[in-house]
Symmetry: C2
Subunit: 339 residues, 2 copies
Amino acid sequence: MDDVKKPGKIRNIAELARIAGVSAGTVSRALADKSLVNKETRERIQALAREHGFRPNQMARRLRTQQTGVIGVVIPLGHERRQHISDPFFMTLFGYLADELTESGHDLMLSRVIPGDDEWLDRIVDSGMLDGALVIGQSNQFDVIERVAQHYRPLVVWGSHREGQIQCTVGVDNAAGGALAARRLLARGAKRLAFFGDTNGPEIAERLLGAQQALSAAPDATLRSFPTHLASDEMANQIASHLQDLDGQIDGIVCASDIIAMTTIRLLHERGIAVPEQVAVTGFDDLPLATRMVPQLTTVRQDIAAGARAMVDTLRRRIAGEDAASTIMQPELIQRESA
Amino acid sequence: MDDVKKPGKIRNIAELARIAGVSAGTVSRALADKSLVNKETRERIQALAREHGFRPNQMARRLRTQQTGVIGVVIPLGHERRQHISDPFFMTLFGYLADELTESGHDLMLSRVIPGDDEWLDRIVDSGMLDGALVIGQSNQFDVIERVAQHYRPLVVWGSHREGQIQCTVGVDNAAGGALAARRLLARGAKRLAFFGDTNGPEIAERLLGAQQALSAAPDATLRSFPTHLASDEMANQIASHLQDLDGQIDGIVCASDIIAMTTIRLLHERGIAVPEQVAVTGFDDLPLATRMVPQLTTVRQDIAAGARAMVDTLRRRIAGEDAASTIMQPELIQRESA
DNA sequence: TGATTTGTTGCAATCGATTGCGATTGTCGT
DNA sequence: ACGACAATCGCAATCGATTGCAACAAATCA
């Protein structure tokens, strides 16, 4: 069967043109299904191409047409170098992005980059092989992104929105989200709160800020922040050590992510501390796994699917030349069992 | 600063050559840091390129050199069309693959494809923009992959290994894994077992087969299989319905994946059934979340990180022309709390 | 001094598809 | 029967970088 379908390898459009008895240009137009060439020859050429399993070289086409059909997805790991792409939040967002992009016929190129200089993003957008770029997370690279955004339009960033910024972002109002979580814990009667998260990136820092602001309505409550990395092996140790230090001193924990919350709950369970009765715990993100665990996680939802849709829509508009603006989504408290 | 760094836009190597007073060829060699050009001119040209923020067009380079530095990662969704890329197992494996590939300087292009004809894989490998391809899961497309593997060498597949196949696979011995899970349940004293999973793909089917074979050592035990899809919304309903039908009739469940197990445990919990006391549950995969849930999941581990490493290594060897063979990894029972 | 080697650089072909423009053939109207 | 016009198709330039080969100068050797 293989022999029947591929009588001789056709390597390029010119060879196909030769055995079809036409010129290369005609073949190109025929394969693009342009009405400029006669319907019969067009179909004959297409059939011939199918027989020989020939497909035009994408590199050449892209070089010539100056467009690639490829969207770059970039994950900068500035302040958290040990974090891997396999982090569930990245993966979830990335999964939705991939769904959106492939459904609209785009290809997708992933780069994880550990910023070694200020040029990492320039290298990516200037490489000449992208129609646009999506950056997931600002890390501590806000300024670099800002600089590139000045002259490169088809760029959309997942992250925080600062007043007057040039870069186009899609993201949730992190301060509002932090406030939601803290208020939920206060409403349950918790008074001695802890915050688990890494505040080196702007997003988590804003969540802490929001939580702190919520505390101002409850003068007798306290909130202390404990650095907690996301790299998952280390995270568990850090949390265990926090819990050790805090034994009996707290009754509520605002976690900066669902993963941190999940690990925290398990470690509390191991110490024989009941959730939410003795210590209430909130997450952040509302990953799919938040509903699958026991107890189900009370968390601040950012609608990742909607966010992905917004990013792709915005990017598409910017590629088309429009001047699409940032999107700030409102977080929502999802009240389940853990707080 | 922007104006200082980019006095005039340099669009290609020829323009750079002109303002450097040399030929395009020299610039090309200088930028590639070849010792063929004088060290001084080389550094002068590199400095000039840096000043102007110039980077050679990748499309042109790739067209000329016939190599792209891009590895395609393909996810065929043959029997499970509604499943999204955001499935945790895919994402986890993909994450590790991304880590491995980016660390070795490769770019990575993701395609999710719903096989509409027999040509989907041909389209991808013949597109001329890949150095090699990784296929995640065979779905029901074994034959298509087999055909392409006959003439396209740099192709590595995650999935099952059949006697005499041509395609190069990396995967776990699924039958052995299924047997491990079943034997664990039997060893706990369970006798009336159920299997939750979708046996349309070869991998899950083999897990069921292995479990059935393990049963032969326990004549008084039974195992019934219940179709359970992976698309997560539907999965929960199916499982709920199974549990309804099976109420009180079973004491052990072999789940085809950790996600199925996680959902099953939560639903059992909702029905007031204790895990593992009344019904023991095993998972499959050992995703990171298996340790984070309560109760921690007893599961059959496939070392996804090692698998990713093996896939990338094998692919690299095949790109280099070697004749690397398949890898069959041995699964391992990770005994935690759920069984 | 003449021949040969070494070190640098330029020239031009090449990768493979796309596309503007001109050439050819055939059709229609008058 | 002749010019206008449409439908097809071929020619050749183009996208931008790479690289074998030749050209040239300087340096070394006989």
